[in-house]
């Protein structure tokens, strides 16, 4: 049965990801994201010992969570969850208190240094509302990113998710992320930047 209400989701097929950063740069140009902050980026992690080593790529965007703690904590209700699951920030209401940044378990929010308000990936809702795919989905050279309606069983993303094992980052946070991954490596998620000597 097709549900009239949409529930959007994003799916990264990490088997197809070549770590090229095109998604990150497409986002910069689509959303005019200033230098120094990112709505989307690709974490790269090395594992193992020579010659049994490997590099892993993990593109990260906002999870547009079902239980978004960022929305819970926003004191002025500037972080808003739409009925289709997209969480966006009302740029006229946000006071730039950074509480959402402190509370989000995924570090995907930032304060725009030009506008002094919080921003994050909102799945390009301006494009989605016009019937388009988010910019990063279109740009990805290998088609590793999928975007669509989970309430529509006929959508590509529903079909792909039904047939593949999917994971989310930090499920234990109880935020119910809606950015899914195929072939997610837990060590890559947990690896932390080393301190420079």
């Amino acid at each position: 049965m097709r549900n009239k209400v949409k529930r959007y989701a994003m799916l990264f097929d990490l088997r197809k990801c070549i770590g090229c950063n095109a998604c990150a740069v497409a986002c910069k140009s689509e959303n005019n994201v200033p230098l120094g902050v990112w709505r989307s980026w690709v974490k790269k992690v090395e594992k193992g010992h020579y010659p049994h080593s490997k590099e892993f790529f993990l593109p990260i965007v906002c999870n547009n969570c079902e239980n978004p703690i960022c929305v819970t904590v926003c004191p002025v209700g500037a972080s808003i969850k739409r009925s289709d699951g997209i969480i966006y920030i009302d740029p006229h209401r946000c006071i730039g208190c950074r509480y959402c940044m402190a509370a989000c378990p995924y570090g995907v929010r930032y304060i725009n240094p030009k506008l002094n308000i919080a921003e994050k990936c909102y799945w390009c809702h301006h494009r989605v509302d016009a019937g388009l795919k988010p910019a990063c989905v279109l740009a990805c050279p290998t088609g590793a990113i999928m975007f669509g309606d989970l309430n529509d069983p006929e959508s590509d993303i529903s079909k792909t998710m039904a047939k593949n094992a999917v994971q989310v980052i930090k499920p234990e946070m109880g935020t119910k992320p809606h950015t899914f991954y195929i072939d997610l490596d837990i060590d890559t998620v947990e690896a932390k930047q080393m301190e420079e000597e």
């Binding site: 949409k6 097929d13 088997r15 197809k16 990801c17 070549i18 770590g19 090229c20 950063n21 095109a22 990150a24 740069v25 497409a26 910069k28 140009s29 689509e30 959303n31 005019n32 200033p34 230098l35 120094g36 090395e46 193992g48 010992h49 020579y50 010659p51 080593s53 490997k54 590099e55 892993f56 790529f57 240094p113 030009k114 301006h126 494009r127 016009a130 019937g131 388009l132 795919k133 910019a135 279109l138 740009a139 990805c140 050279p141 290998t142 088609g143 590793a144 669509g148 309606d149 529509d152 959508s155 590509d156 080393m194 420079e196 000597e197």
Partner: protein, 773 residues
């Protein structure tokens, strides 16, 4: 979700609707339905964007792109979903192309030097003065019969420039795009009379990758990366990569085999031996399509045991044997060859060794194998109209330093989008040579930026970017269908109001004249045409075009296939054209014995090589100096990151992600040398020294060290130099990586070595010494 969406009316209104609609009729099977109706929408005003399809020229792949304009401003570039090669995908530097156009540090006016060379003091001049100066000089050189004193150093091919060069009869040409590929081109021309073959990786089941990194850079970058990924994930193909370091491709391969630098040849030969001895070779192909019977090959291969290969290369004998069997039995299979193989002194022979693997499985012109390029034909049935550098093998000069070595008399040195003072191996010597007024009396540089080379010029000319001009080229035919790419200007000086009044692409005609390069920058083609007019005579006669657009229009009208399908108008609406009659693509060798359409035979045995005193059969040539290396000696390799490329040096988005090129050193090896991650080291080669930080990693062979090229600029712009500055773009004041620096230029320490057979550059052969500071 793909079905619901925008109304028909809105769809048409956006202009690209027309493109997409037109594309449907051409339709290649691979285009996913959902991607067809692409358009843009302004994030702030929610208005539809004005979309123009064109071609990316930041690398040889020539992807189809769509430029989106918000009013008159170019705001975004995305892939063209209808383009058969990249199918809507696009790489990072393609996306960052708008940084190149909108760069506040672009060179926008012609200037001439007023201080001493290299002093960076300039005065603005008019284009008329440029035409006069250059025109007079060239006229005089022609008149005095010393046109050989004109050196043209072209970093990018342009067919009008090529015509101009031919018309004036200059002979000293440095063709940068061809230089690097010279070894490969020579090797293939000797074997199959074509400088290149395409790899049908999208349909292969086993792919051996020797020294190519198509997930980060390649001649057909996105087109091939996309096909490889699909083949691997959706069709279960296996990808096996041999590389001295773990490239992005190696990271996403089924296995990575770290190989000692420049020993690929022996690994391939050992595999070949296994295939032949286990009688897995395609006898039929070898007998009918090559000049070398299997018995001869078998005899030749007998010394190359997997054990010997293991000792030489470090690749395990068991792996060699297993992979050889897999390659010969899990078909279709193909072995691909990258710069890692060709950029060595034994490059040509290494290429021949790997090519032999392909001949052994007989994959030439078969599904999932190798195939010849297909070009759109003109009415004489010749592809040559679209002069393609890849087909051109007349490389007169192999770099600036060769001019000095052969004591060339120079009057004028004209560099177009070429930056030898930075990019040449041993670039400091090149820079010294160019700076010397006795050797190079008059240096003219045409570029988008004040490059290292331009800093020493007597005259600098602002070049239009690839987004500001017209050209036509044949894109790689990755599905065996000839493709014609149109590049048209997308930088507009229209008022917003005017564009909004005519938002459909169809009325593009009305708007055409107002597309114009920024400032006073000019297309090289238009410069050549103007010079031809000033020189007159036969030069003018062979360049009878008004401007680049006129040239492109005339050329396309000579292609009968295109004419039938709507001609130039179609081309402009789609941004490219594929020959419908040849839509399906075909293999010359369909696999059945009798139906082979291939006329020529593969020359596994080369008489030419024999004549010139080289081994005629594929052979491994070790290099003595690399055998005996001390523990702190390494082979220095550079690689092309997907974030560095021509035109991306001063891109804020690319440089924000990659601004440091640390030296990769094997972790265990570094431990032994007492070098820790982040330590500073001195890297010493016979031609120079550089200081850099180290990245200790488990992803590189212990005998190699590696570094991304394309960083460490000392000119071009503040972004390239990692300096924060104020400009009309607020972002430049947010450059945050000044402390981390802008990397180092590896070319300072790379020796000028060549493969003696082909003359191609051996950029990856320098032996270096590492000292901890």
């Amino acid at each position: 979700m793909s079905k619901i969406g925008i109304s028909r009316r809105r769809f048409i209104k956006t202009g690209l609707g027309c493109v997409a609609a037109a594309a449907t009729s051409i339709g290649t099977a691979q285009i996913p339905a959902a991607d067809k109706k692409t358009m843009g929408v302004s994030r702030t005003s929610l208005k539809s964007l004005y979309a123009i399809p064109t071609t990316c020229e930041q690398c040889p792949a020539g992807c189809g792109i769509i430029a989106y304009l918000d009013g008159e401003r170019l705001v975004q570039i995305l892939g063209n979903p209808s383009h058969p090669n990249n199918q809507g995908g696009i790489c990072t530097k393609g996306l960052a192309g708008i940084n190149l156009v909108n760069d506040p540090e672009r060179l926008l006016y012609p200037m001439k030097r007023i201080g001493p060379r290299g002093s960076d003091s300039w005065t603005r001049i008019t284009w008329d003065e440029v035409y006069f100066t250059l025109g007079t000089r060239i006229k005089e050189m022609i008149r005095d019969g010393r046109i050989s004193e004109l050196v043209v150093d072209k970093g990018q091919n342009d067919s009008l420039l090529d015509r101009f060069i031919t018309a004036i009869g200059s002979i000293h040409i440095i063709n940068r795009p061809a230089l690097k590929n010279l070894t490969r081109d020579t090797a293939f021309t000797a074997m199959i009379k074509s400088p290149l073959l395409f790899e049908d990786v999208g349909r292969s089941r086993t792919i051996l990758n020797f020294g190519a990194n198509p997930y980060s850079n390649h001649d057909q970058f996105i087109g091939i990366a996309r096909r490889l990924v699909r083949a691997r994930i959706e069709k279960g193909a296996r990808l096996i990569t041999f590389d001295v370091r773990m490239s992005e491709t190696a990271a996403k391969s089924d296995s990575w085999h770290p190989i000692k630098a420049r020993t690929d040849g022996i690994v391939a030969l050992a595999m070949a031996k296994v295939i032949v001895e286990k009688e897995l070779a395609d006898k039929n192909f070898l007998d009918h399509n090559t000049n070398c019977p299997i018995s001869k090959i078998k005899h030749h291969l007998s010394p190359y045991t997997p054990e010997l290969a293991e000792r030489e290369s470090g690749v395990k004998a068991v792996d060699i044997e297993r992979l050889a069997i897999e390659f010969a039995t899990r078909k279709p299979s193909v072995a691909i060859i990258g710069g890692g193989v060709s950029d060595h002194e034994n490059g040509l022979q290494n290429i021949r060794c790997i090519a032999l693997l392909n001949w052994l499985v007989g994959n030439l012109e078969k599904e999932g194998g190798l195939f010849f390029p297909r070009f759109p034909l003109n009415h004489q049935g010749k592809p040559s109209l679209l002069s393609d550098s890849r087909l051109e093998l007349s490389h007169a000069v192999k770099g600036a330093m060769e001019l000095q070595e052969i004591d060339t008399q120079i009057d004028t040195y004209f560099a177009y989008l070429s930056n030898p003072a930075y990019n040449d191996p041993d670039c400091e010597s090149s820079a010294r040579f160019l700076k010397d007024e006795k050797s190079v009396p008059f240096l003219v540089v045409m570029d988008t930026h004040l490059t290292e080379t331009a800093m020493m010029a007597d005259m600098v000319l602002p070049a239009a970017t690839y987004l500001e001009g017209w050209s036509i080229s044949s894109a790689p035919s990755l599905d065996k269908v000839p493709i014609l790419n149109l590049r048209q200007p997308v930088v507009s000086i229209l008022s917003t109001a005017k564009v909004l009044r005519f938002p459909t692409f169809d009325s593009g005609k009305l708007l055409e004249p107002t597309f114009q390069p920024l400032g006073e920058s000019r297309e090289i083609g238009n410069l050549c045409l103007e010079l031809a007019r000033r020189i007159g005579g036969s030069v003018l006669a062979s360049l009878p075009f008004e401007n680049t657009q006129d040239y492109v229009t005339k050329i396309t009208s000579s292609i009968p296939g295109l004419k039938k399908q709507g001609g130039f108008k179609t081309l402009k609406r789609q941004g490219f054209w594929t020959d419908k009659t040849l839509k399906k693509g075909y293999y010359l060798n369909s696999g059945k014995k009798s139906t082979s359409n291939m006329t020529q035979k593969v020359k596994i045995y080369s008489d030419t090589l024999k004549h010139n005193g080289h081994p005629p059969l594929p052979e491994y040539q070790p290099v003595a100096s690399h055998k005996e290396m001390n523990s702190n000696e390494f082979i220095f390799t550079t690689f092309k990151s997907n974030l560095t490329a021509r035109g991306a040096s001063n891109s804020k988005w690319a440089r924000e992600i990659l601004h440091e090129n640390r030296l990769w050193v094997n972790k265990k090896k570094a431990d032994r040398l007492g070098i820790k991650n982040g330590d500073k080291v001195r890297v010493i080669s016979p031609v120079g020294t550089l200081i850099t930080r180290v990245l200790t990693t488990s992803r590189i062979h212990p005998r190699s060290v590696a570094m991304a090229e394309g960083l460490g600029h000392t000119a071009i712009g503040n972004v390239a130099k990692a300096r924060r500055f104020k400009s009309k773009d607020q972002d430049t004041n947010l450059i945050w990586w000044s402390k981390e620096g802008n990397g180092v230029n590896p070319n300072k320490i790379i020796e000028r070595r060549i493969d003696p057979i082909s003359g191609g550059q051996a950029l990856k052969d320098t032996k270096v010494l590492i000292e901890k500071i």
